[in-house]
């Protein structure tokens, strides 16, 4: 067997050797960090995915060693394969940053921004994307498109209003079933994801569309409005499942299993598909063999309050600016309550103004 040739590719001045046929996005993922373009529709586990959301656009400043001409347009890094000696600009290109800002704005103009009541909040790709690349305001002044909520199957709810039409679920359904029963109706900005004539999907792996959905358009009906994801603690577990690998992630609070999902890697992609039985029906601790807590990036909102060894920002602030920050007003100088020498945790019951009297402090 002949060995695949290795291509040298430079992304944001970092050079890496990758096998021929790798896409720019995957090469950037091998480097990792900030040079990785965001991807809303590409899913490395799905064959046909990618190229649609346009958030991963990058500038190719040098085509290859043989043909050093730059590419005339920005290209979708998830569907463009690297050439030997290619030079790619992602965050070092103003064009890319500007285009990406535009794409994020376009994705958000018809998105309801109902994050406070959305189950996906906290693990939403679109939320991350807008924090990193979006603007704080919107220039869109018109009514947003809305749809009725729709149940597809007994376990999954489709809320089309939130959908960004990434086609990930369509690709998932297409790979799981050999019938085309989950797809897109209509076209343009009124197109909608739907099942064949409103039929429910009954494939035993169909629950995975919830995991691949980058926003809160497809949600788990057994988990809807039960809990916020950052209050639950992710735990890796497995069971002997006759249908799937049985390797899952439990989202627990105390001893209670709130939700079961597939395990996701650092790019928020499912490692192995899990079946509907594991996902929706095994919601007790005794069903599972617990492996231990999931390693969660300390930057994730899900890790808030769960993890130690993180330095809080204000500890470092005098080192960074070289002096203690000047406070405009010290609240303790005017307030009788909440004095620094009193530890709130030592007060029994609700704090009362009497607790802060001088004679108590003594």
């Amino acid at each position: 067997m002949s060995e695949t040739p290795k291509f040298k590719v430079t992304i944001d001045n970092i050079t890496i050797e990758v096998p021929a046929g790798t896409t720019i996005l995957n090469a950037a993922r091998m480097i990792g960090g900030d040079v990785t373009p965001p991807a809303m529709c590409y899913y490395s586990k799905l064959k046909e995915s990618g190229g649609k959301c346009r958030t991963c656009l990058v500038e190719v400043s040098k085509g290859s060693e043989k043909d050093p001409r730059p590419m005339p347009k920005l290209v979708a890094s998830c569907r463009t394969t690297v050439m030997d000696g290619m030079e790619v600009k992602n965050i070092t290109s103003d064009k890319v940053i500007d285009a990406r800002k535009g794409i994020v704005e376009m994705l958000l103009i018809n998105h309801p921004l109902d994050c406070p009541v959305c189950d996906q909040a906290g693990e939403c790709d679109l939320q991350d994307l807008s924090y990193e690349h979006g603007t704080e305001g919107t220039r869109y002044e018109f009514a947003r498109r809305t749809f009725e909520k729709e149940d597809i199957g007994p376990y999954i709810q489709l809320h089309m209003t939130r959908c960004i039409l990434c086609y990930r679920c369509v690709n998932t359904a297409a790979e799981l079933t050999n019938r085309r029963e989950h797809g897109v109706l209509e076209r343009g900005d009124h197109s909608e994801i739907s099942t064949l004539l409103g039929k429910s999907l009954d494939n035993e792996f169909i629950g995975n569309v919830i995991d691949v959905c980058p926003v809160g358009a497809l949600t788990d009906k057994t988990f809807r409005f039960k809990n916020r994801v950052w209050f639950t603690k992710p735990v890796d577990a497995h069971r002997d499942c006759p249908t799937c690998s049985g390797k899952v992630r439990l989202w627990m609070r105390g001893d209670e299993v709130y939700r079961v999902t597939a395990r996701k890697d650092q790019w928020n992609e499912v490692e192995s598909w899990i079946c509907n039985e594991c996902r929706f029906e095994k919601k007790e601790t005794k069903d599972w063999v617990i492996e231990g807590p999931t390693k969660v990036s300390r930057l994730s909102v899900i890790s808030q309050g769960h993890y130690v060894n993180t330095e809080k920002a204000h500890v470092l602030i005098d080192k960074v600016i070289g002096k203690q920050p000047k406070l405009l007003m010290d609240i303790h100088s005017i307030s009788e309550v909440n004095r620094p020498e009193i530890k709130l945790s030592e007060i029994e019951g609700p704090a009362h103004s009497d607790d802060f009297k001088d004679d108590v402090i003594r």
Partner: protein
């Protein structure tokens, strides 16, 4: 006297049918081509300098030579008859009145490319033309020009007509291929290009109706002879469908040496503007190419006379030029409102966006809503800059060229007619009372005698 190659016999009685067509020199090119080798035909087309007539103007011979030819894999030729661009109706005329010309071109091109199954993907709204084409195909079959072992050469070819379902997007070649395969007409992400993996993952060439029809005179007269017609890289003749505020709307064949002024005002072509009105603006190549004000339309920024050909129309880039496009020539007289016109185009592109990639899906709807506000007197000054910014973010960032096609008309309207937009914002009431904008763009035109 203008040279006519395609529409030479279009007024002949019964040219729609085989007998009259054959009597006027029809199917000569097939006889000639089948004595050549396929590579010689491709070479002949390359020599002719024929450029794609569908809009992009890509050299046809080069496109044909890109076709991959792996052993044992069938190849396909697809004729793009999904002519849906507002203002373009040249292919309709050709197919409706001289269907055999297209069939003849298809047979020659299929032989050159080695396609045994050739498809005509026709726009769904052209329902009656399907019958005309089917009949022409049947006639060609009866006389042995199609089917098995054509003219004893051992070459088999069948032509199938497939109706679209009424989507503009299916005029994009990869969306057309998807639709032809029976899927949702979403453009594919390129690469791979259709020449490598097209219809059913087989090498495919997709060409416009007029391009394939032009193959017939190329074979008949020879590529070099054909290249002598026209100027520079704009060789041969081009069909233009003229519409809008002109005296004689219709399909005209030009040899790309005449000036735009002549085309609009001469009696041989459009015959001037009705009621002695003045020319305000024109879209020279179908709705998606940039609109040009009268002064830039007749003369380039350098002061040269603008000719009706690929190079001259695009002279000056998008800043002061436009494009040949598909040949949909729309003329606006001094009473027309550019804001309203742009709004109606934006509505079209909003309705026809496939919804696959986000900039086009969301951006076209946004642009339409803003333009609607501007047109109906609810706009703000900042909306104009916002529109400019939106079109800038759509252009070049989409999967297929239709994103650009939606952005260019808006961009050009703002670029050249910004004060008309501003007038709409400043005079919301007056803009409602009269259905047109400012007329001072119409330069006084000297009508050639």
């Amino acid at each position: 006297m203008a040279i006519k190659l395609l529409l030479e016999n279009d007024k002949v009685e019964g040219i729609r049918y085989y007998d009259a067509y054959r009597k006027h020199g029809g199917y000569r090119s097939v006889e000639k081509a089948f004595k050549m080798t396929p590579d010689e035909i491709v070479e002949e087309v390359k020599k002719s300098g024929l450029r794609g007539r569908g809009g992009a103007g890509f050299p046809t011979g080069m496109k044909w030579s890109f076709l991959a030819k792996p052993e044992g894999v069938p190849r396909h030729l697809v004729c793009n008859a999904d002519e849906s661009e507002p203002g373009t109706f040249k292919d309709r005329y050709l197919m409706e009145f001289i269907p055999h010309l297209l069939i003849e071109g298809l047979i020659v091109s299929s032989f050159a490319l080695g396609s045994n199954a050739t498809y005509i993907y026709i726009r769904g709204e052209y329902a009656w033309i399907v019958d005309i084409l089917e009949q022409a195909i049947q006639e060609a079959k009866n006389f042995g020009w199609l089917g098995k072992n054509i003219l004893g050469t051992g070459f088999d070819c069948e032509i199938y007509v497939q109706r679209g379902a009424g989507a503009y997007i299916c005029g994009e070649e990869t969306a057309l291929i998807e639709s032809l395969e029976g899927k949702r007409g979403n453009p594919r992400i390129k690469p791979p290009f259709p020449a490598i993996q097209g219809l059913w993952m087989r090498p495919t060439v997709v060409n416009n109706v007029e391009t394939l029809a032009a193959v017939v005179p190329i074979i008949n007269m020879g590529g070099e002879e054909y290249a002598k017609i026209g100027v520079g890289r704009s060789t041969g003749t081009k069909l233009l469908s003229a519409c809008g505020n002109i005296n004689k709307p219709g399909v005209y064949e030009i040899d790309m040496t005449i000036s735009v002024e002549e085309f609009i005002f001469s009696d041989e072509y459009c015959g001037g503007i009705p009621k002695g009105k003045r020319l305000k603006a024109c879209i020279p190549g179908g709705s998606s190419v940039p609109i040009l004000p009268a002064n830039l339309l007749l003369k380039t920024a350098k002061g040269e006379t603008r000719l009706m050909n690929y190079e001259s129309l695009s002279d000056g880039g998008f800043a002061t030029g436009s494009m040949m496009g598909s040949g949909g020539f729309e003329v606006l007289d001094e009473d027309q409102c550019v804001v309203r016109h742009t709004m109606s185009l934006a509505r079209f592109y909003n309705h026809e966006s496939c919804g696959q990639c986000s900039p086009c899906r969301e951006g076209t709807g946004w642009m339409y809503k803003i333009l609607k506000n501007l047109e109906y007197g609810k706009g703000k000054m900042s909306d104009i800059d916002l529109l400019w910014d939106i079109q800038r973010k759509i252009e070049g960032n989409t999967i297929c060229p239709l994103g650009d096609a939606a952005a260019w008309p808006v961009a050009a309207a703002i670029r050249h007619f910004r004060d008309e937009f501003e007038w709409h914002v400043l005079n919301p009431d007056e803009s409602q009372k009269r259905n047109y904008g400012l007329a001072h763009y119409a330069d006084p035109i000297h009508v050639p005698a």
